[in-house]
């Protein structure tokens, strides 16, 4: 059943106490897929993404990464996370380090690269996100859009096989949203495999190869972006997208 899927999620559920956040989630990601997860706030999108990176422990179900179940307790979570990057809504840059160190520390400490190589690699990705001039800055000295681009460079510097974005533009003003989305568009074009939780509908429609619509912890509808955005079948998808489609 796995035809070269990077990631397969089977019957994933997550509850916080009595609160059921995710119910029987199934989906899979192929190499070079750009999967956008859309849906109202509180529908479980972020929790799903956090489960994929094991920042939350799923209550039940399987997450297969190259056919290995990562929810197995014996799995080395840190080694897995080194291959699956994550970009957060609140950036989470290390505030005690400069921009350059933020992009180097993972390579040096986790991937055990030597400093010169890590620096070269970090510079390459910082240039890609147009943040190379800011290598000496501390995160507190940067704007939100700049921080998020550094955060993307930091994740890319680990050369992940799969990159997760958790509402990367939700804390940004419209101009900064533009900066960050253009970087992400470029990454999509290069064929990076990504899962993106986003409220940017136009971006999801244009960039993604696959769209997942979630409501109340379940996947209500999924498919090609044309299908979801032009011709949604599910009633809740129609309602959710009605404002966007009129605009």
């Amino acid at each position: 059943m796995s035809d070269g899927n990077i990631l397969e999620i089977h019957h994933l559920s997550k509850t916080f106490g009595k609160n059921v956040v995710l119910r029987d989630i199934d989906f899979s990601v192929k190499p070079k897929d750009v999967t956008c997860i859309i849906g109202a706030s509180g529908s479980g999108k972020s929790t799903l993404l956090r489960c994929v990176n094991l920042l939350e422990t799923p209550t039940s179900g399987q997450i297969l990464y190259h056919e290995t179940d990562i929810t197995d307790r014996k799995m080395n979570a840190a080694a897995y996370r080194a291959k699956v990057g994550m970009v957060f809504q609140n950036f989470n840059l290390f505030s005690n380090m400069t921009v350059l160190d933020n992009c180097m520390v993972g390579q040096v400490k986790v991937l055990k690269k030597d400093k010169a190589e890590a620096r070269k690699n970090a510079m390459m990705y910082l240039e890609k996100v147009n943040m190379a001039p800011y290598i000496n800055a501390k995160p507190r000295q940067l704007s939100g859009g700049q921080k998020q681009r550094v955060a993307i460079a930091r994740a890319l510097a680990m050369e992940p096989e799969l990159l997760l974005f958790d509402e990367p533009t939700s804390a940004l003003d419209p101009q900064m949203v533009g900066e960050v989305l253009s970087v992400m568009r470029a990454l999509a074009k290069e064929g990076l495999t990504m899962i993106i939780v986003t409220h940017e509908m136009a971006f999801a429609r244009d960039v993604s190869s696959h769209v997942v619509f979630m409501a109340d912890g379940v996947i209500e509808e999924e498919g090609k972006p044309e299908q979801i955005f032009e011709n949604p079948q599910n009633q809740r998808t129609k309602e959710f997208l009605s404002r966007f489609r009129q605009g």
């Binding site: 840190a78 897995y80 080194a82 400069t98 986790v110 800011y134």
Partner: protein, 266 residues
């Protein structure tokens, strides 16, 4: 030379006669305070780090029990040493060691030991607070690039926690400089003990302690200024250099990032 009658004259007399003793006493006070604070901080970090090790229900049962026991012991240590006067601890440990274990510790060793273990008890709570004060997003960011718990602590959390608790470390150092005087009770010859000796020799209590007050204040004030300076160093500069050779950027032409094209243009 007889003892002058006026206050300043007596001060001058004491300084000329016992100046060296005062200096030696002040030096010993500083050594005890500095070493005690340093070792105390190390104890504090060790205890604080252990106290903040996350335990989840998925962990192995033996690991959970072990952690529970260790944390309990550390809690008892912290509560006992925070909850009793250092002066009483000094007596208890110094005389208890010889009475129970027949171990006669030197007064120097006792001084370092008591100040360190006391500071450690206070610092462990400070460190715990410092670690808890760091945004959980920092931990998530570190975990997301594959860092282990230890790597996250060493590279991300502790450096930030250390910066946040610097004022408290300074507080502790200053408290220790002053509180070493309670060690005079077990015969540690530090500044207070020296002063008592000098004062008693000539019945110049007021003058001798006037000198000592000034010395203590100089010691604490100097330390607090040095720590402030160190703090601002840790914060780094408010500005940063744009590492660019772009001639349109307002910082272009900085010598650290020379424009490779400059030579050709000229």
């Amino acid at each position: 030379m007889s003892l002058p009658q006026d206050f300043m004259g007596r001060i001058g007399y004491l300084l000329s006669m016992y100046g060296e003793s005062f200096l030696v006493g002040a030096g010993k006070t500083m050594v005890i305070a500095l070493v005690g604070t340093l070792i105390g901080c190390l104890i504090g970090f060790a205890v604080g780090i252990v106290q903040t090790i996350p335990v989840s229900k998925e962990d192995h049962i033996i690991k959970r029990i072990l952690l529970w026991i260790v944390k309990l012991i550390l809690n008892i240590y912290v509560e006992v040493f925070r909850g009793t006067p250092m002066m009483a601890q000094a007596m208890f440990i110094f005389f208890g060691a010889s009475a129970v274990f027949h171990y006669n510790m030197s007064t120097w060793f006792a001084a370092f030991f008591i100040v360190s273990i006391n500071t450690g008890a206070y610092m462990s709570e400070t460190v715990r607070g410092g670690i808890l004060s760091i945004d959980p997003g920092q931990t998530e960011g570190a975990m997301a690039i594959g860092m282990t718990h230890v790597q996250t602590m060493m590279n991300v959390i502790l450096p930030q926690a250390l910066r946040n608790i610097m004022p408290q470390i300074g507080n502790n150092l200053i408290i220790n400089i002053k509180d070493t005087c309670v060690l005079s009770i077990i015969g540690v010859v530090e500044l207070f003990y020296t002063t008592k000796g000098v004062a008693g020799a000539m019945y110049t209590y007021f003058e001798a302690f006037a000198i000592t007050m000034v010395i203590y204040f100089i010691l604490t004030f100097t330390c607090s200024r040095i720590l402030r300076f160190w703090e601002s160093k840790l914060d780094g500069p408010d500005n940063y250099d744009l590492a660019t050779t772009d001639t349109l950027a307002h910082t272009s032409g900085m010598y650290r990032y020379p424009d490779p094209r400059k030579g050709e243009d000229a």
